[in-house]
Symmetry: C2
Subunit: 127 residues, 2 copies
């Protein structure tokens, strides 16, 4: 995470691809270990930071924080802070974020199919 180096070839390649392939643009946004699961969790409604953390047991607070910020920057989720003590912060999918839900569902179905497929065809690699 942190910040991508704008002089790297990697940056240039992504930029170029994302510009003329919207599917790559999308996958740049949804890529990364946790973005998709977070959206999945939020598909059923708003959640607090701590609730998300509990749903994603292995995530570090740093990662959760980074991913949430990234998704927020991309306007996929919104963040509402309530001035209470202890603080309460709620995350929720935006309109465009909700548009993602059916796609994620399809990806999930494809994943299931694929698991069956490779099981039948004797493949052992997972990643």
């Amino acid at each position: 995470m942190s910040r991508i180096k704008e002089t790297s070839t990697n940056f240039a390649n992504r930029q170029a691809l994302a510009d003329n392939c919207s599917e790559v643009y999308a996958s740049n946004i949804l890529g990364g270990q946790w973005a998709i699961v977070i959206c999945s969790c939020l598909a059923t409604g708003k959640l607090r930071f701590g609730e998300l953390k509990r749903l994603l047991p292995n995530i570090t607070e740093r990662m959760l924080s980074l991913q949430l910020r990234k998704l927020e920057d991309h306007k996929i989720i919104s963040r509402s802070v309530y001035a209470e003590v202890p603080p309460r912060v709620e995350y929720e999918l935006t309109d465009i974020g909700y548009e993602l839900v059916p796609i994620i569902k399809q990806l999930e179905q494809w994943g299931e199919m694929h698991k069956q497929y490779v099981k039948k065809n004797d493949c052992d690699n997972v990643f």
Copy 2:
């Protein structure tokens, strides 16, 4: 690429997530800079190594090779070698690979929408 370290926390996290979230499982397979574009290119039919390379101008041979191998390992594409000189190798989506095409199309549409959305809402980050 190369090989993921099976003792790392990262490995454990992916494994755990992929096991009970098929959408994450899918995104592990399709993640990476080039996997989705390659599938996009192959959506219209089989292509040779060199043809793919020309379609993806900035890709290095190493990356193309790695990604193709990965997709092949996951049974998303098939590889046919013809015993000619110079050699001819053709890549083609498998059945389950073709199932991906509509999903990629939707991702593309979502990407377009998202681009409009952030343009309207004055967001400047791209990644």
